[in-house]
């Protein structure tokens, strides 16, 4: 084990996989000469050359689409989206091609590709640059969608993504890039998709989240413990598709209360699926309706004070916990 940042975990996963398998390559805007807007790929052009570290034009559909073609022919491209907001431009190539070509070819091709990049709000990038995309991608069969919350998961899940046979939407959080955590050294350390984990044990209420919101949930849980004696169990979903709610169900069977935390807009957001599934499966165990903590239902404003109001923070999580515990 070694202490590493989320950024370095991602970077190392790519380097190790490129060293291991010559079919792995990376492509994206300004990942080479510029060294990456978040410096995840710094030095990689020098190390691997321009055939394996491809600086692309500003052409997200082109990036995603060519990656599909490469993957169908046996390569394992990793596409870096400068931010995931720009991948909307590539929606057709991702949702209608990457996700479906295995199916409509009757299983004749693998599509081992990864689309990765940061998402989320928090540094005043305003409406077009501050979105999260779990529900957007999670709806589409044929994709895997993951949102690691820790450096270890970032590394282990990226390796799983690169080694797989299907297109993976790998949702990072710019706000987590600097976060440190223990990461196993084993170059074959991988974290499977579709296995959520208990990030914090507790018996009073279950908080379900992923990605950056998971970290926020953990902070809220500590506060609840210290200030109100409420012990929250916090579940880290890790994958959005496939979605593993079995540990969540087990937890709710003990706590009888659940809160789901997501950053994006409430309507038709990821928390809706999670809440609906929990209710379907654990209805008789629930002592309160599953609560959702979400961002406000508005395009992200630029002004700092408004952005703070638009995004969920610990107090909202704590408020929701109180609500499901009828402590208001």
């Amino acid at each position: 084990m070694a202490e590493k940042s989320y950024r370095d975990a991602i970077r190392e996963a790519m380097i190790e996989e490129m060293d291991r398998d010559p079919n792995v390559l990376i492509m994206g805007e300004d990942i080479g000469v510029y060294e990456g807007t978040f410096r995840i790929t710094a030095g990689m052009l020098k190390k691997y050359g321009s055939k394996r570290v491809i600086d692309t034009p500003i052409a997200e559909a082109g990036m995603a689409g060519t990656a599909v073609g490469m993957a169908m022919l046996g390569l394992r491209p990793i596409v870096e989206m400068m931010t995931m907001n720009f991948a909307i431009v590539a929606a057709d190539q991702i949702l209608n091609h990457a996700a479906k070509v295995r199916y409509f070819s009757g299983g004749q091709v693998d599509v081992p590709m990864v689309i990765r990049g940061p998402q989320g709000a928090g540094v005043q990038l305003s409406a077009q640059h501050s979105q999260t995309f779990e529900a957007f991608y999670g709806h589409f069969p044929g994709l895997a969608v993951v949102a690691p919350a820790t450096p270890a998961d970032a590394k282990g899940m990226l390796k799983t993504a690169v080694r797989g046979k299907d297109p993976v939407i790998f949702l990072e959080s710019a706000a987590l890039y600097g976060m440190k955590g223990e990461v196993p050294e084993d170059p074959d350390f991988t974290v499977p998709f579709g296995e959520s984990r208990v990030a914090r044990e507790g018996s009073d209420v279950t908080i379900v989240s992923y990605g950056r919101m998971l970290q926020l949930s953990l902070v809220a849980a500590e506060k609840l413990s210290k200030e109100e004696g409420i012990e929250a169990e916090v579940i880290d979903l890790r994958s959005i598709r496939p979605l593993d709610l079995v540990p969540t169900y087990a937890s709710v069977a003990r706590t009888h209360r659940a809160v789901v935390v997501q950053e994006q807009w409430k309507p038709f957001g990821a928390a809706a699926e999670i809440a609906a599934s929990i209710t379907e499966e654990m209805f008789d165990e629930l002592d309160a309706p599953v609560a959702r903590v979400t961002g406000e239902d508005v395009p992200m404003p630029y002004a700092r004070n408004l952005e703070l109001l638009a995004t969920p923070h610990e107090p909202q999580i704590i408020g929701a916990v109180r609500r499901v515990m009828y402590r208001e």
């Binding site: 559909a61 060519t66 073609g69 022919l73 057709d92 409509f104 009757g106 004749q108 496939p242």
Partner: protein
């Protein structure tokens, strides 16, 4: 760099009476009969969904795909039956696909728009106009990346040239081509119309092949109804692509005799007269006449080809008809690798 010089493309002289020309005529006739049968079976309700046939355009795919090698790869849009046939896909399995049968090339999951036969280098079969162009450019990159001298051929219509993914694919192919890393032949199947919209009405500049110069991609126009011309150009430029790793674009000027799709009955966008005019330039008749004049192919030879084609098509229809539909569990396979995982919390 891959060794390309030693096993360069076997070209055939368009002026010579090589036996291959008879073979090409045979295939074109077969495609025609096959497509006519699909139209018939569509009317009979045996084929569902959208059906876009290649009737009138046979010279384009025939002139080019016969110039490719077994290990080359081909991408097409939804008007894709001919491309698959020419790559050597079993017509039985194509027809079965159109019938939605388990024995279809794509297990009945794709249908007419999504023929696939990776074993024969046919990589589909796509329904979103222009959507496959980026895939093809990526495939071409992969072929060079892997150090092979295989090339990629990508077909698309005149109408597809106006969508964003065309532009992005072309520029990336041009850039990669500048480094010798994108051995791809882009083939514009310019049949004069995008559905009901004529070229002058959908493209600000109607000289289509000149548009690709914006991407530093060289190109030329070729008469798509004259398979001699198409094949001649294909032999020349495919050799060059294979050698240089640079993209090239052929605009094959052609015409579709049938409607855009099986539902395009009224065709308010063109006159009967216009279609009649173009029927005078039927690529099959043009080839037949030339082989008759120059190479002594007889009417009897052609009649035989026709007969054989009809028999083969009838066999394909029979095969399709008699094949079983996909089993219900097929619904859930091929979504992701290894038949799973499905959503873990899925109820039903």
């Amino acid at each position: 760099m891959p060794e390309t010089k030693e096993n360069s493309v076997s070209t055939i002289d368009p002026a010579a009476c090589a036996p291959e020309w008879t073979e090409i005529l045979k295939r074109m006739i077969f495609i025609r009969r096959f497509e006519e049968a699909t139209e018939r079976e569509f009317r009979r309700g045996k084929i569902g969904g959208y059906l876009h046939v290649y009737i009138g355009q046979e010279g384009v795919a025939s002139g080019i795909i016969t110039a490719t090698r077994d290990r080359d790869v081909v991408f097409s849009g939804y008007r894709d039956h001919a491309h698959a046939i020419l790559r050597g896909t079993d017509p039985n399995r194509i027809m079965a696909e159109l019938f939605g049968k388990a024995s279809g090339v794509s297990k009945g999951k794709g249908g007419s728009m999504h023929l696939f036969d990776v074993e024969h280098g046919f990589y589909g079969g796509y329904g979103i106009v222009g959507g496959h162009l980026t895939l093809a450019a990526g495939a071409a990159y992969a072929l060079r990346y892997q150090g092979t001298d295989r090339i990629c051929v990508c077909y698309f219509g005149d109408g597809a040239m106006n969508i964003g993914s065309f532009h992005e694919a072309m520029n990336m192919a041009g850039l990669w081509g500048n480094q010798g890393l994108c051995p791809i032949l882009f083939v514009i199947e310019n049949n004069g119309y995008a559905m009901g919209t004529s070229v002058e009405r959908h493209s600000a500049l109607t000289d289509l092949v000149t548009r690709v110069r914006a991407y530093n991609i060289p190109g030329e126009k070729v008469d798509g109804q004259d398979v001699f011309a198409v094949r001649g150009a294909a032999d020349r430029v495919i050799g060059q692509i294979r050698e240089t790793g640079k993209p090239y674009c052929l605009e094959a000027v052609t015409y579709r005799f049938s409607g855009h799709g099986a539902a395009d009955i009224l065709q308010p966008y063109r006159s009967k007269d216009e279609v009649e005019q173009h029927r005078h330039r039927d690529p099959i008749i043009i080839l037949r006449n030339r082989l008759r004049e120059i190479c002594g192919v007889t009417d009897e030879d052609v009649r035989k080809m026709d007969e054989e084609a009809n028999e083969r098509v009838a066999a394909a229809v029979k095969f399709a008809e008699e094949s079983p539909v996909p089993g219900g569990t097929e619904l859930f396979t091929d979504v992701v690798a290894e038949h799973g995982p499905r959503q873990i919390n899925q109820t039903e």
